[in-house]
Symmetry: C2
């Protein structure tokens, strides 16, 4: 591992935000040595609790994230925020007024905000989020909030692996129905009906209850439904109390940990092998040669693939 990785990690552990930021960027960019660096910080991870906050655009996720952050900071916790939502003020996608309003949270003691692009993450969005969670965890954050718009499959995947998931709905948008469609219904640990002063809030609560009653699994506890007016701070204390209780008691946490570790392992192996193949095969000209032979119809692609796979097989795990 290059010595500047070590220096960065040491500085990060001593509390340097600059070092943390650079580490995140370098790991995201998969700079040589990133895996050794992640190995090095791994013993310092596993302490932070991860809360996912998801919902359609315009449901006030960012304001909610802002409010939750303030309450956690008031309680003396250190908070990290990962904003995957492209329209989030945290990730710079909103109008200026919003962004200014959000800024203050970034300046709070012990709060670190990182925005993530939904496209183009070298290790995949999911893995990138996992890496950043680990780095924030090692940095000493107690809570990590992941704000993501619950639309694309990628975004849903990211929030799905949080320890606790808040699904945010608002009145009058048919969000409840949207939630079912997007498959985020099943991942909700708490439903937040935000903008609860708008007409129709009770109807949204009823809709969610109806949907939950349709669920056949009567053994599982139903996720609570909490009404908030994030912009005024109403309901945030209650929401957070429920969240913290659930985080302590949720059985699924252990289950999710297994799923998460498993997915991460498979994902990492995939990316590594595929990266190596692409790199080597291009480097030695073997790929070009194979392509020309296939075009000249001297060989078929399947034979080429088998020639590459066969020698690998006996070295795969399990063989």
């Amino acid at each position: 591992m290059a010595s500047n990785w070590e220096t960065l990690i040491d500085e990060m552990k001593e509390g340097s935000i600059r070092a943390l930021t650079r580490l995140i960027t370098r790991v995201e960019n998969r700079e040589p040595g990133w895996m050794e660096a992640m190995k090095r910080i791994f013993p310092d991870t596993g302490k932070a609790q991860v809360i996912g906050i998801t919902g359609s655009p315009g449901t006030g996720k960012s304001t909610l994230t802002n409010r939750i952050t303030r309450v956690l900071v008031d309680k003396g916790f250190k908070v990290g925020i990962i904003a995957v939502d492209p329209s989030s003020p945290f990730s710079g996608g909103a109008i200026l007024g919003d962004r200014v309003r959000m800024m203050d949270v970034c300046d709070l003691e012990g709060v670190f905000v990182r925005s993530m692009a939904t496209r183009g993450a070298l290790g995949g969005l999911n893995q990138s989020a996992r890496d950043v969670v680990k780095l924030l965890d090692a940095f000493g954050k107690d809570y990590i909030l992941i704000e993501t718009v619950g639309v694309g499959q990628d975004e849903v995947e990211v929030v799905r692996t949080a320890d606790l998931v808040l699904v945010v709905c608002i009145p009058g948008q048919g969000d409840a129905v949207q939630a079912i469609k997007a498959g985020i219904m099943e991942i909700a640990d708490i439903f937040v009906v935000n903008k609860a002063d708008l007409e129709g809030a009770d109807q949204v609560v009823m809709d969610i209850k109806t949907m939950l009653d349709l669920d056949m699994d009567t053994s599982a506890a139903k996720p609570p439904i909490i009404q908030t007016i994030a912009i005024k701070g109403d309901g945030i204390q209650e929401l957070l109390e429920q969240a913290l209780v659930l985080l302590k008691t949720l059985e699924k946490r252990a289950l999710w940990q297994e799923v998460r570790v498993r997915e991460e392992l498979i994902g990492l192996v995939e990316k590594e092998i595929v990266g190596l193949i692409k790199k080597n095969w291009k480097k030695d000209g073997g790929l070009d040669k194979a392509v020309q032979q296939i075009i000249a119809r001297e060989i078929d692609p399947y034979t080429v693939v088998q020639e590459i796979i066969t020698p690998l097989v006996s070295f795969l795990p399990g063989e």
Copy 2:
């Protein structure tokens, strides 16, 4: 290769549509022996011309596909249609009236229609489309039309590798602007302004011209813009004439062939290796063991990954 694969291939070569359909399904499902089967049919491929037809929903792609098919059939060609568009009448997503209207093309002599799900293809949508193209090609189709809605990245990828791409716009939908956004502008070989009897058709033509003029690459020939009223059959002859001329002269065809073969090779190797790893690692319990060790924090995921990768490296192509 299991003997029933051989039987199916023999029957397919003799013209059995039932055998063709079953082959497609079995290859799509990655049934054991699929690669051997594809190897077997490979010498019979490489003759068909592939035309991609893409555009926003409601632009009349299916009607256009229908009309083009009829003209090709009248000229004595055999046509295969792959419908990736989930809203296409070919793939059964449209209202009954539409579907009935489309049915007749399916019954035309020498026309074979296959719809493809945009999600869940075992080998990936792209590779599935490539497999079906090869099977239709080996079956003896002269032209293969791929109809896809130009929205998702996956769908764009599919049509991108056709020999010739028609991008369909209509007046009054701001489709031209949509086309730039979706990144399908660059892949268009011909722009089709369909529903050209609607108000604003000339404006769409102007918009496209303006966009094409913004393109800095002055050496490249600009794609023609052809107005059609697919429902009446107007402009179809001209469109097809242009298409056939372009198919003969397009330099990009050779270029695309390289790109396509290269992508396909890398994609196939990826899928195969990843599939093998998942299967073996799960089978021998190694994955479960690693997961438990990571949760117990006896080992970190990166070390596990490196332990798997390291023995593989020397057997990768290029090492």
